[in-house]
C-alpha cells in the first residue's frame, strides 16, 4: 500500500503517493502539463517551483522534476519568469568590466541579501558569482555559475531586479571565447582538413568493400 500525503497545488488539496516528485504528483492529480515541464531530468530549468510547508514561514524553491513531495506542501509552479536578456554581438564585445556596466548595470545595485543563493535550485553560490561579474572576473563567474539551469528562482527573489542567469550566461561566453586558452591542436586540425590532408584517406575508406572495412574495424588499435 502506498503512503499518501496531502499537497496543495495552487492552493487546492490533493492526496498523492509520497514517493512522487512534484511533477509526477501534478500528473497524478490529473494535470496534463504543457508549461513548466521540459527535460524532466534537472537540466533545463522549465519546472521552477515555489513551495512552503504548512506551519513554516520559509519560502522554498526547487525544480519540480527533482524534488519529492512532502506532506502539507503548498506548491506554485513558476513556468516562466521575465528575466532581462540583453542582446550583444559576441564578436564585438570585450571581456572587461565595462561590458557588465553597459549591459547589466543593475548588478551593482546588489544589496548583499543573499536571497539569490538561498533560492538556487542547483545550490550554487549565486551572490558570489554576481560579485565576480561586478569585478570583471569572468573566469571565476563562469566556473561558479557553471551548473546554472537558468530556472530564474534567484531573480524571482532579488530585490535589486538582477537577472542572474543572464549575467552568468554572458560571463561564460566571454570566458569561453576570449579568456580560456585557445586550442592549437584544434586550429591545426581544421587547417589540415581545409588543405585536404585527409581527403584521400577518407575517400579510400569510403570506396572499400564492407568486408574489408570489417577487417580494419575488428583489428584496429585502441588507445589505452
Amino acid at each position: 500500500m502506498e503512503n499518501m500525503v496531502n499537497v496543495y497545488l495552487f492552493g487546492k488539496k490533493y492526496s498523492v503517493p509520497d514517493n512522487l516528485t512534484i511533477m509526477r504528483a501534478m500528473e497524478y492529480a490529473g494535470y496534463q502539463l504543457v508549461r513548466g515541464c521540459g527535460c524532466r531530468n534537472g537540466f533545463c530549468g522549465a519546472c521552477a517551483t515555489i513551495y512552503r510547508i504548512k506551519g513554516d514561514t520559509t519560502l522554498r524553491t526547487c525544480l519540480a522534476c527533482q524534488t519529492k513531495v512532502e506532506n502539507d506542501m503548498y506548491i506554485a509552479t513558476l513556468p516562466f519568469f521575465p528575466l532581462v536578456k540583453q542582446v550583444y554581438d559576441i564578436e564585438k564585445v570585450k571581456p572587461t568590466e565595462q561590458i557588465m556596466m553597459q549591459l547589466y548595470p543593475e548588478i551593482y545595485a546588489c544589496v548583499g541579501c543573499n536571497a539569490c543563493t538561498k533560492a538556487c535550485t542547483q545550490s550554487l553560490n549565486v551572490m558570489q558569482y554576481i560579485a565576480y561579474a561586478q569585478r570583471g572576473e569572468f573566469d571565476k563567474c563562469a566556473e561558479e555559475s557553471f551548473d546554472c539551469v537558468m530556472c530564474g528562482c534567484c531573480s524571482a527573489r532579488c530585490p535589486a531586479g538582477i537577472s542572474h542567469p543572464q549575467v552568468a550566461m554572458l560571463a561564460r561566453r566571454l570566458n569561453g571565447k576570449y579568456l580560456a586558452p585557445a586550442t592549437e591542436h584544434l586550429e591545426n586540425r581544421v587547417k589540415e582538413i581545409e588543405n585536404g590532408t585527409f581527403t584521400e584517406l577518407i575517400e579510400a575508406l569510403m570506396g572499400k568493400p564492407v568486408e574489408e572495412l570489417k577487417e580494419l574495424y575488428n583489428n584496429r588499435e585502441i588507445e589505452k
Binding site: 561566453r173 581544421v190 585527409f198 577518407i202 570489417k214 584496429r220 588507445e223
Partner: protein, 533 residues
C-alpha cells in the same frame, strides 16, 4: 539512501572494488557481439514490430507505436485551413528549437535569409540540453577523421550512409572550433589542450566535454546567440502538418498554439525539420532519458508528405539509465561515468563486461545479466546492475567526481545517494532514435524538394547504432549545413500556390489499405495525466 535489501550486494561490490579496478575485462569478439545482440537487444524482438501499411516505407517492419503514428490521421481538415493569408511568411522555416534547429537558424541568418523557428515547448527544451557526456572530434595528433570514420562506421554496424558519415567526421573539428568561438566552454588543460576521454567504441580519446553539462553548455550558448541575432522564435507552437506548393516542394507548415489551440499558417521557401527524437514514444514500454517533447513528430510530418524513412526500426537503448530510486527511473547516467573508470558489476560484485563496449552491446549485456544470467539486483521496480562510481575517485583521486560529473553527483544526492561513496543501480533506457528521415549530403530529403532535415530526426548518419558523442556532433554539423543550404535554396525558390492535398492522398491510401484508426498525429506530447473516467 539504500535500504537493507541492498546491503549484502553492496558489501560484495565494495569488497571486490580494488580487484575490479585492476581487472581489465576482455572486449568481445565480433561474433560474440553479434550473438549477444540477436538474443538480447530490444531491436531484435520481433513481436514488438509490425508491418507499416502505407507510405514510402510500406512493407517495412517498424515498432508498433511508430506505425500507429505514421498511419494515423492528420490533426486538421484541409478545407478548414486558409492558405491564402499566412500568419508568417519567411525564407527558411525551422521546426524545432534544439541544437540542430538553433545551429541551422544561426547559419541561415548568417547567409542573409529571413529565418524563423517554431517550437512546441521553449527554445532549448530538447535532448541537446540533456546530453551529458560530450562531443567527438578527431583533433588530436594521434587521431584522424579517418579513424573517427572507422570507429563510427563499425559501431553503427557498417550501415551508415558513407557520404553522410564522412561529412560528419571531417566537419567535426570545425564544429568544435565554431562552438568555442561562440563562447562554448570546453574542458581544457592550462595550455589550451582539450581534455578528451574515450566513449564506448572509440579507438582514440576524442570525447570533448564541458563537465557533464556538455549539451546544456552548447544549447544555452546557441540559444543565447539565436536571441542576440533577433531571430524570431515562436514558442509553444507546434507544426502539425507540412504544406507543399503546387509543384510538390515544401513550402511551409500549419502551426498550432499548444495552449490556445489557435491554428496558423507559416509560408516558407524552404523548411527544415529539426524536431529531434522519440523517447517519449516509450517503445516496448521502456522508460526514457529523453525530454518531454521527444515524440517523433518530424518523422510523421515528413512521412505524410512523402519523405522516406531510413532505419526507423532501430532505437538506441542507453545501457545506463538510472534504475533506482524510482523518482529518477530512466534518467540518463552519462557514459562519461564509464569513461572515467567506473565498471559495470553484477549482484555478486563481479565485472561482467568491458565497460567501453558500444551502447547496443552494453545494453544487451546488461539485459542478459539480469535475465538469463540471473545476476541482477532486485530494485523493487525491476532488475538492475551496479555501476561502481566510487572506482572513479580511487582511480582519478578524490574530487574527480565533483569536478568532472557534477550533474550526476547532484542528481543522486537529491535522493540521498552519494555516488563518491556508493555505487548506483542502472538498467537500459530508451535514449536515441538511430533512424529517421532519409537525406542527401546537403541535408535535403531524398524525395521532397526544399525539405531539409537535421539532428536526431535524420536517419543514416550513424547506421544502426550511434557512438557516444556523435549526436551532439551531428546536430551541429548537419544543423549548420541545413541552415546554409536551406538559405541558399530559398534564394532561388519561387513558392507556387500552397496546398494540403497530400492529406487527402494519404487518407485514400490508408482507406485502400483497409486501416481503421481514430488516432491523430503527430503526437506532440506524451499523456501522463492520471485518468479518472
Amino acid at each position: 539512501m539504500y535500504g537493507k535489501e541492498f546491503e549484502e550486494s553492496l558489501k560484495a561490490v565494495a569488497a571486490a572494488r580494488d580487484a575490479n579496478i585492476a581487472y581489465e575485462p576482455a572486449r568481445m569478439t565480433a561474433k560474440e557481439k553479434e550473438d549477444l545482440l540477436a538474443a538480447y537487444h530490444p531491436d531484435y524482438k520481433k513481436s514488438e514490430f509490425r508491418e507499416l501499411r502505407v507510405g514510402a516505407n510500406k512493407g517495412e517492419a517498424l515498432p508498433h507505436e511508430l506505425c500507429d503514428m505514421l498511419e494515423a490521421k492528420s490533426r486538421i481538415k484541409a478545407e478548414d485551413i486558409d492558405l491564402d493569408h499566412p500568419t508568417y511568411d519567411v525564407d527558411v522555416l525551422i521546426i524545432g528549437g534544439g541544437g540542430a534547429g538553433s545551429s541551422a537558424a544561426i547559419e541561415a541568418d548568417n547567409a542573409g535569409a529571413k529565418v524563423m523557428i517554431v517550437t512546441k515547448l521553449r527554445i532549448g527544451d530538447a535532448n541537446t540540453m540533456m546530453a551529458e557526456g560530450g562531443i567527438q572530434a578527431a583533433d588530436k595528433p594521434n587521431d584522424s577523421p579517418a579513424i573517427h570514420f572507422l570507429d563510427a562506421y563499425g559501431g553503427g554496424h557498417f550501415a551508415a550512409k558513407r557520404d553522410l558519415l564522412a561529412k560528419l567526421v571531417t566537419s567535426a573539428p570545425d564544429a568544435i572550433l565554431w562552438l568555442n568561438k561562440l563562447g562554448v566552454e570546453f574542458d581544457k588543460a592550462p595550455d589550451g589542450t582539450m581534455i578528451t576521454t574515450h566513449g564506448g567504441g572509440t579507438s582514440r580519446k576524442r570525447m570533448h566535454a564541458a563537465k557533464d553539462y556538455s549539451g546544456a553548455e552548447i544549447m544555452r550558448t546557441l540559444r543565447d546567440e539565436v536571441l542576440n541575432r533577433g531571430i524570431p522564435v515562436i514558442e509553444f507552437t507546434s507544426a502539425i502538418e507540412l504544406i507543399l506548393d503546387e509543384n510538390g516542394k515544401a513550402a511551409g507548415a500549419v502551426l498550432m498554439n499548444m495552449e490556445t489551440k489557435e491554428i496558423m499558417v507559416a509560408r516558407a521557401k524552404t523548411v527544415i525539420i529539426a524536431t529531434g527524437g522519440a523517447g517519449r514514444m516509450h517503445y516496448q514500454g521502456f522508460p526514457t532519458s529523453n525530454h518531454y517533447g521527444a515524440t517523433a513528430d518530424g518523422l510523421v510530418l515528413g512521412y505524410r508528405v512523402g519523405a522516406k524513412l531510413l532505419y526507423a526500426d532501430t532505437l538506441q537503448y542507453h545501457p545506463t539509465g538510472a534504475a533506482y530510486p524510482q523518482q529518477i527511473f530512466g534518467a540518463l547516467v552519462t557514459e562519461k561515468v564509464r569513461s572515467l573508470g567506473a565498471k559495470l558489476v553484477n549482484r555478486d560484485g563481479k565485472v561482467f563486461m568491458h565497460p567501453l563496449e558500444t551502447r547496443d552491446v552494453a545494453a544487451a549485456s546488461i539485459i542478459r545479466e539480469c535475465s538469463d544470467h540471473a545476476e541482477g539486483v532486485d530494485t523493487g521496480d525491476g532488475l538492475a546492475v551496479w555501476l561502481d562510481t566510487p572506482m572513479i575517485e580511487k582511480i582519478g583521486g578524490e574530487g574527480t567526481i565533483e569536478k568532472r560529473i557534477p550533474a550526476m553527483m547532484r542528481m543522486f544526492a537529491s535522493f540521498g545517494i552519494d555516488i563518491r561513496k556508493e555505487p548506483i543501480l542502472v538498467y537500459p533506457t530508451l535514449h536515441y532514435q538511430n533512424g529517421g528521415l532519409d537525406i542527401n549530403v546537403d541535408g535535403e530529403t531524398t524525395n521532397v524538394k526544399n525539405l531539409f532535415v537535421a539532428g536526431e530526426a535524420v536517419g543514416g548518419i550513424h547506421g544502426r547504432n550511434r557512438l557516444m558523442g556523435n549526436s551532439l556532433l551531428d546536430i551541429i554539423v548537419f544543423g549548420r549545413s541545413a541552415g546554409k543550404n536551406a538559405a541558399a535554396k530559398a534564394k532561388e525558390t519561387e513558392v507556387g500556390k500552397l496546398t494540403l492535398s497530400h492529406i487527402a492522398k494519404f487518407d485514400a491510401e490508408r482507406d485502400a489499405a483497409g486501416i481503421e484508426t481514430n488516432l491523430v498525429s503527430p503526437k506532440l506530447l506524451p499523456d501522463y495525466a492520471r485518468k479518472f473516467n
